[in-house]
């Protein structure tokens, strides 16, 4: 991989100079950081032992007395894991929040729900006034690290409000920082957003899902707008929610003329649990960069999804999350289903004792497609397809053909510039994309070309894949 971090005229402010508190947290040794985690964990478990019958039962099951908890290893060994199914069952038995709520019903100040894209059901979270601020802090923290400062103009492209944590946390976070925020997500069309940004001119920060930043960039190029000339004050593009190829990241930085930063977050984390630092999404020596975990706020484990043993540095595992400060519907040793490549604090080599996960490769264990005996993640196909700058968008479907075979169709739309190429060039390009997909997934797929307006425009998380195999067997 040749992609590397670029140099820009305007680099973000240094967070460890601007915040003594952050500098202090960065100075903690690993032993000191774990002592802080243990102190907060004991407090959290003692509180839940008194307020949540769900968690009290789990502590009893594991034989764990919060007052006698002496090591983090003891917690990992004795506290049983929870997953989505456990939470949904708890909610059914004790509607609407479940017995895991942990605060008085009248102290619920904000209700958040998960997206429900798994098809299993939506987890419901009741947050206290304290938690509403913490959710804001968990958005402010990565953005402060990325250089956002009071008075900066921020464009929030993620739809605001509603029932999701991502709908409420960003607004709180931007207010906590003191930025001038325009919450354009979900309220304006992409073209209307661009018009507004052009009227504002001095934009410093854009927050969007990975996919929506792609959509926004594509729309600007279509209108003949060169982002780095239109927005010369821009210092940070901050993305979340989806993986991407490094070639894409390099092109984005080049087009916008500023640093691309990334965060890892979820409703279970109550916001962001990790983010990039000075080098953005690129490693200091090229290749993929790291998102450093905010471990003094959230206890993270990265485990093998079958053995449940911690993975070694450099390996991919499932993120298991424990909230150390959240009081309403906290998660304790919750299996998120998120797949991440773990990098230990020693290997992260950042000068801090914070563990890390790799940028751009966060995926899901549960959206894996089993195709002809191969485990195929949509994020791997995204990475293959979008490593070609000529591709504007794509969708895919797995289906059963008339003779009962599994077939995969990928519909690709080219950018305006690539769409005008001659037929022979397009054929060569399609073959290269097809070969790249095969290289990364071990599956040959059928590619067809279509017009850009035949494919959807995703405003938040992209849902590019449909598994229609069950339909193929219907009579």
């Amino acid at each position: 991989m040749n992609a590397t971090a670029q140099q820009f005229d305007s680099e973000p402010a240094n967070p460890f100079v601007d915040s003594a508190r952050l500098a202090r947290l960065a100075s903690l040794s690993r032993a000191e950081l774990e002592e802080l985690q243990l102190r907060k964990l004991r407090r959290q478990l003692a509180r839940l032992n008194a307020t949540s019958s769900y968690y009290r039962a789990r502590m009893t099951q594991g034989g764990l007395d919060p007052d006698k908890l002496s090591t983090l290893d003891q917690f990992r060994e004795r506290f049983p894991l929870s997953n989505k199914t456990d939470f949904l069952a708890d909610q059914t038995e004790h509607p609407p929040f479940g017995a895991r709520l942990g605060i008085a019903r009248e102290d619920v100040a904000l209700v958040n729900m998960t997206g429900g894209t798994s098809g299993l059901g939506q987890e419901i979270y009741g947050r206290s006034q304290h938690d509403v601020h913490m959710q804001g802090y968990y958005h402010a923290l990565p953005w402060f690290l990325a250089g956002l400062r009071p008075g900066d103009v921020a464009i929030n492209c993620v739809p605001a409000g509603g029932l999701t944590t991502g709908g409420w946390g960003p607004g709180e976070g931007l207010r906590i920082i003191g930025a001038t925020a325009f919450h354009v997500g979900g309220t304006l069309s992409t073209d209307a957003k661009i018009d507004l940004m052009q009227r504002i001119g001095a934009v410093h920060f854009i927050y969007a899902s990975t996919n929506y930043l792609h959509t926004l960039t594509e729309a600007m190029m279509r209108r003949g707008i060169e982002p780095k000339r239109a927005f010369p004050m821009l210092r940070t593009l901050f993305i979340a929610a989806e993986g991407y190829p490094l070639e894409w990241a390099e092109r984005i930085e080049s087009l916008w003329g500023c640093r691309l930063q990334e965060g890892y977050g979820s409703t279970q984390c109550a916001g962001f649990g990790a983010s990039t630092c000075a080098d953005g999404v690129f490693g200091a020596k090229g290749g993929r960069g790291l998102m450093h975990l905010f471990e003094w706020e959230t206890l993270f484990e990265v485990v093998h999804p079958e053995t449940l043993e911690p993975v070694a540095s450099g390996e991919t595992g499932e993120m298991v999350v424990t909230n150390l400060s959240i009081e309403g519907s906290p998660v304790i040793r919750f299996r998120t289903g998120d797949a991440a490549r773990f990098i230990s604090w020693r290997d992260a080599n950042s000068g801090r004792a914070w563990n890390a996960i790799e940028c751009g490769t966060i995926g899901r264990f549960d959206d894996m497609l089993k195709i002809r005996g191969n485990n195929v993640w949509p994020s791997a196909i995204d990475a293959a397809v979008f490593s070609f700058g000529e591709v504007a968008e794509y969708t895919g479907r797995v289906y059963t053909s008339g003779d009962g075979k599994t077939e995969i169709e990928v519909r690709v739309a080219f950018t305006d510039a690539a769409a005008t190429c001659d037929a022979a060039t397009k054929t060569t390009l399609i073959e290269r994309i097809r070969a790249t997909i095969k290289e990364r997934t071990n599956v040959w797929m059928t590619l067809t070309v279509c017009a850009r307006n035949e494919l959807p425009e995703f405003n938040y998380k992209a849902r590019r894949w449909k598994d229609e195999r069950q339909q193929g067997y219907r009579l």
């Binding site: 460890f16 100079v17 003594a20 508190r21 500098a23 202090r24 947290l25 100075s27 903690l28 000191e32 002592e35 802080l36 907060k40 102290d107 100040a109 206290s128 006034q129 304290h130 938690d131 509403v132 601020h133 913490m134 802090y137 003094w296 400060s325």
Partner: protein, 64 residues
């Protein structure tokens, strides 16, 4: 950059101030005015969160 002990001293001082503010906010939340009490609980939540955010990070703060 300021040294670790200076930063620890500041955080410990902030934490003590916030502890006092939380105790005062708890008193406000007990008021009989339902309209005001809701707003006091809002304020109390913010203070409680900041108390968590400034929690002593290590021995330096505990000693400060």
């Amino acid at each position: 950059m300021r040294n670790v002990q200076d930063a620890a001293d500041d955080t410990a001082r902030d934490h003590r101030i916030l502890s006092r503010m939380l105790a005062d906010a708890d008193v406000l939340c007990e008021c009989g005015d339902a309209l005001l009490a809701g707003q006091y609980r809002h304020l109390r939540g913010r203070i409680a969160a900041l108390l968590d955010i400034t929690i002593p990070a290590g021995e330096a703060e505990t000693a400060a």
